[in-house]
């Protein structure tokens, strides 16, 4: 059976990759992560990645701006309050200094009678006066000559605190301050009191002799000074300070309220200002999810409009690209008809429909007869024009409900829906007639282009789409064999004959595959149950078609066997498997490969030499090579096989007997064959967990192998239960989809993961 898998459609994938890249960029904001190399760059990155500057913490731009605004306002607020506190303190201090100065002036004047009359009793008036002012802690008048206090006043507020009298040093300092208008500030030791101590000399002045004759009140130089005493004053500014704190608190509260109000208003204004940007969020989210059927509204600020325009342009470009990719994925670029991929889908759907509706349709496979001639003689461009014109001719011959596709090269397919055999023939004839009337004119030359048509009815569920297509293909081949320019209706009785005809087609394909390396190798892991870490894979062959379709070997190996191409395939496989092995070994990997050989290869006279040459050519370790031959092949070619096996084993290679147990061969043969592994046939393994007979068979085979000192490989392991049983029975190696599917590219890590699967399975058991 031919499994057709559409894989790696390069153009489609490339297109979607680009679209995905664009989408990713939109999501990430085209942000690249720079690699910091210098401290300044590192600092920049730290700042950039801090919560306020990244989008991780704040998902909304509006919120982020509002937060920034709030933080900034808070900073300004703190600075403002600090500044207010500092400047207010300064102002208070200045005011207080001025107040102290005023008090000094006033008390200086009030103390005049004290010095004039030298009568302490006069001080009572001063005392009475200052007692009305709570800011005055104490007051002292000193006599200038003796520095003794001649009168003093102390407020009750001062309590038990004693403020010492002015020292001689301070008095000297005060004396030297005679020319200043400001009193001398005395540092107090009383930290707990809000006390300001100031002192000033009490000075009398008189205009110098003869000074009145040229009197100038602005010039103090014409005066004589005389210190008659000193005045010391203690002022309490706690009242002012508490008032200052209270005022600053109230002021700060008012500013804070204003800031909160401003923040609320700011948030509203920012949200309103960014509304056009916010409105873009929903379409952008849709766009990020892959929905390109969106339109970004651009309104408001010109920057937003520019962004919206850019996004809309990008979306339009994506739409165009998407449409183009869809076309590429579903339509033939040259003719505009459906392509092979889409046609296969349509064919399956049509088969399903005919089954469900009990209807009949027809598949027509059309191959142009003279296309190669046109293409070769006039060039590919002319060939392309011919295909386009043929497509037009065919399109005109079908109904609107019918499906037409360019299948590849010069092959066209048509699904003619809801028609019987007679109508299908009429359509085929109609197409033939149209093509007979069609003349292709190129470079002044006229060409009659005919075609051959294979017709198959789609009328039951016996055949799959691939089989129906194969029948149409064979019918077309038959029509061509009959002399071209005709159609052939498929008849089931003709299938064998058609198959033979098809073999001829396979012969060409296989030959091309060998010649042009259209084959490819897949590798399926073979894992040691005991935990052997060496990588071991079975090499599996696949054919790659023109359209990159991967063909399983069961599709072409029977034909290859019939056509005598199996040996060539074997050599191709051996050569390429050893080449890959040499590549693995070059990578310092311990890889073992099991290579399947067909029975025909034992008929080849130069088998040993060729294998020897390839081993030498690729410089691979023969011990890493395990050749697999089926039990039936080995028995059929027992003599030759035994000889070849011995010779290859002498070179260091190992052998496995594949599909062991299915041939019911005599164990005597087994004793004669010097193989290293018995590969238990998958039929025993696949359903072993449910079938006690299979279990007994497998157990027996393993026991026999152990007796013969051969290792066993169990293939088709599809579940953990089977794995468990094989472990119990003592199988040496396991292989199957449960452990790993065949893949084109193998890695050591992948094999280790498979090993872990086996190990974990063991642990779980």
């Amino acid at each position: 059976m031919v499994n057709r898998v559409v894989k790696d459609k390069k153009s489609l994938d490339q297109g979607w990759k680009e679209a995905h890249y664009l989408r990713s960029n939109l999501k990430s904001g085209l942000r690249d992560e720079p690699v910091p190399q210098r401290p300044i760059e590192w600092l920049r990155r730290v700042i950039r990645e801090s919560p306020l500057f990244t989008r991780r913490k704040s998902k909304s731009l509006v919120n982020r701006i509002v937060w920034l605004l709030l933080v900034w306002s808070l900073v300004i607020y703190v600075l403002g309050v600090a500044g207010l506190w500092w400047s207010s303190n300064r102002v208070i201090e200045d005011n207080f200094s001025q107040q102290a100065s005023d008090w000094i002036d006033k008390l200086d004047e009030m103390g005049t009678p004290l010095y004039a009359a030298n009568d302490e009793f006069l001080f009572h008036a001063i005392e009475e006066h200052v007692s009305k002012f709570p800011e005055i802690f104490y007051l002292r008048y000193y006599e200038a000559n003796t520095n003794q206090v001649i009168a003093s006043y102390t407020s009750n507020k001062l309590g038990e605190v004693y403020i010492p009298e002015l020292s001689a040093a301070i008095i000297e300092k005060v004396r030297l301050n005679i020319d200043s208008d400001q009193p001398v500030l005395i540092k107090t030791a009383e930290k707990k009191l809000s006390l300001v101590q100031v002192a000033s000399p009490i000075v009398t002045r008189s205009i110098r002799e003869d000074g009145l004759m040229n009197l100038d009140l602005e010039l103090n130089s014409s005066e004589i000074y005389k210190i008659i005493g000193y005045l010391e004053l203690g002022l309490d500014f706690s009242h002012y300070r508490s008032k200052l704190i209270s005022n600053i608190f109230m002021g700060s509260l008012a500013v804070a309220l204003l800031l909160v109000g401003a923040a609320v208003l700011g948030r509203f204004l920012i949200k309103r200002s960014l509304l056009p940007l916010t409105n873009m969020r929903k379409p952008l989210e849709l766009l990020a999810r892959g929905n390109i059927n969106v339109h970004v509204e651009g309104e408001g600020d010109e920057e937003i409009v520019a962004i919206a325009n850019a996004l809309n342009t990008t979306i339009d470009a994506l739409k165009s690209r998407d449409e183009e990719l869809r076309k590429l994925a579903n339509y033939d670029e040259l003719t505009g008809l459906l392509n092979k991929h889409n046609f296969n889908i349509q064919l399956r759907q049509e088969i399903q429909r005919t089954i469900e509706e009990n209807d009949t349709s027809a598949l027509l496979f059309i191959d142009l007869d003279q296309f190669k001639h046109v293409n070769d003689s006039l060039g590919h461009a002319a060939g392309d024009r011919l295909l386009q014109q043929v497509a037009e001719v065919l399109k005109n011959r079908i109904r609107s409900d019918d499906v037409i596709a360019r299948f590849g090269g010069d092959e066209f397919t048509i699904i003619a829906k809801s028609i019987n055999e007679k109508d299908a023939c009429i359509i085929a004839e109609s197409i033939l007639k149209a093509m007979q009337q069609f003349v292709f004119v190129e470079s002044g030359q006229a060409f009659n282009i005919y075609c051959s048509i294979g017709v198959v009815l789609i009328d039951d569920d016996k055949f799959t789409a691939e089989e129906i297509f194969s029948q149409a293909d064979m019918s077309c081949f038959h029509a061509k064999s009959e002399g071209r320019n005709r159609y052939h209706m498929f008849d089931l009785s003709e299938q064998e004959e058609l198959r033979k005809s098809a073999d001829i087609s396979w012969s060409k394909r296989i030959g091309d595959a060998i010649k042009n390396d259209y084959f490819t190798l897949y590798f399926q892991p073979v894992v040691g149950v005991s935990g052997n870490e060496a990588e071991h894979y079975e090499v599996l062959l696949r054919m790659v078609m023109d359209d990159e379709e991967i063909i399983q070997p069961n599709a072409f190996l029977p034909a290859a066997e019939r056509l005598g191409l199996a040996v060539d395939i074997d050599y191709w496989v051996v050569r390429n498997a050893l080449r890959r092995l040499s590549e693995f070994e070059a990578e310092d990997r311990d890889v073992h490969l099991s290579i399947n050989l067909s029975g025909r290869i034992f008929e080849a006279p130069d088998l040993i030499e060729k294998i020897q040459r390839h081993i030498t050519q690729y410089k691979v370790n023969p011990a890493h090579i395990i050749f697999e031959i089926t039990e039936q092949t080995a028995v059929r070619y027992i003599e030759k096989a035994t000889e070849v096996i011995r010779e290859l084993k002498d070179m260091g290679c190992r052998f496995a007997l594949d599909d062991f147990g299915v041939g019911f061969s005599s164990f005597n043969y087994l004793k004669r064959l010097p193989v290293d592994f018995l590969k238990i046939d998958g039929d025993f393994i696949s359903d072993m967990s449910n079938d006690p007979v299979d279990q007994a068979m497998v157990q027996s085979i393993i026991q026999i192998a152990k007796t013969l000192k051969k290792q066993t490989i169990a293939e088709y392991v599809q579940d953990a239960a089977t794995m468990e049983l094989l472990k119990q029975f003592g199988a040496d190696f396991v292989q199957g989809f449960y452990l790993g599917e065949p893949v084109k590219d193998i890695t050591k890590k992948g094999f280790q993961n498979t090993l872990k699967k086996v190990s974990s399975n063991v642990v779980n058991l």
């Binding site: 200086d108 004047e109 005049t112 009678p113 010095y115 004039a116 009490i202 009398t204 002045r205 008189s206 205009i207 110098r208 002799e209 003869d210 000074g211 009145l212 004759m213 040229n214 009197l215 100038d216 009140l217 602005e218 010039l219 103090n220 014409s222 005066e223 005389k226 008659i228």
Partner: protein
Amino acid sequence: MYAIFCTGYGANVEQRIILISKTLKFYSLFVMLFFLISCAPVETKKEPPESLESSEPTKKIPIEEKVIKEKQSVLILLSSQTPSYQQLAEIISQKLINPAVIKVLSGQPASDSRILKDIEERTELTHIVSIGVKAAKLVKGLKNKRIIFAQVVNFKELGLVTDRMKGVSALPSPEKLFEDWRILSPNLSSVAVVAGKNLESYLLRAKKAAESHGIELFVEQVKTDKEFIYKSKSLNPKIEGQWVLPDNRVLSAKALKEVMAYASRRGRQLVVFSPKLLSFGGFLAVSEDVDSIAERVLQRVEDSADMDIIPGNGVLPVMSHTMGINRNIARQLNLNIPQEYQAYVNGE
């Protein structure tokens, strides 16, 4: 003469030149008339006694007559180069037949001593006219000279008055002052004066002069500028005027400014001793009349021409003064300046 000096305060140059020329014409006429009646006695103002020592008014002698008679050799010693001192010295010198020698003290003790020694050694000098306190103090010890001092307020305290040393009062005439003040402020009833000691006789005279014009004069004696301020501010609020004497002992710039500002705020009429103080709130400025002082000095020289001593009282009073009126203050005090006083108004 009044006009010349009064216009000095606020008058422009042109006005001053016109006034000087008018005054010269008047003066020429006066000299001619004086020759015609040279033998006739000169009618003088009635002056109250200046001090306790000199309570009798003295006759005013025409300067020209004295100059002719004067044969003395005079040296004028100035305490400093103060313009008013120089002006006085020049006037005195001009009135003498033999121009006086004018010397100015520098304020440097050595230099001043040299000047003193020079004066002492110059035997031809019969009279020393000292202008200002420093000059008076310097020459007061000279034995062989007759000394007349001027522009000294507190001469008593300095002990300047001896037989050979007498002076001319530096204080204005209280009689003239209260006469003018009464005219300018008809409703004035009480005035105070705050001054230093040793001015009792002058202040008694002033009290009498004030009483003669129906004004009660309160006298407060102080020692320092502080007391001056304190007493000035402590004056009975009903006292309508304050007279500030040129007593340097109790005056300071701060005291003057403060007291004048205080008085102005309370609508008190302030009479000050210098026109410069008008701008600080003074209502009326009364200062010495240099011509009158010069006249009195020459009189003293003449009186002592043939004697070893200077006859008469310790200081001779000056019977006239110069005047300045602050129009703005007058307006604030609701005082109308009579027509005959308009010439003394500041700036006119």
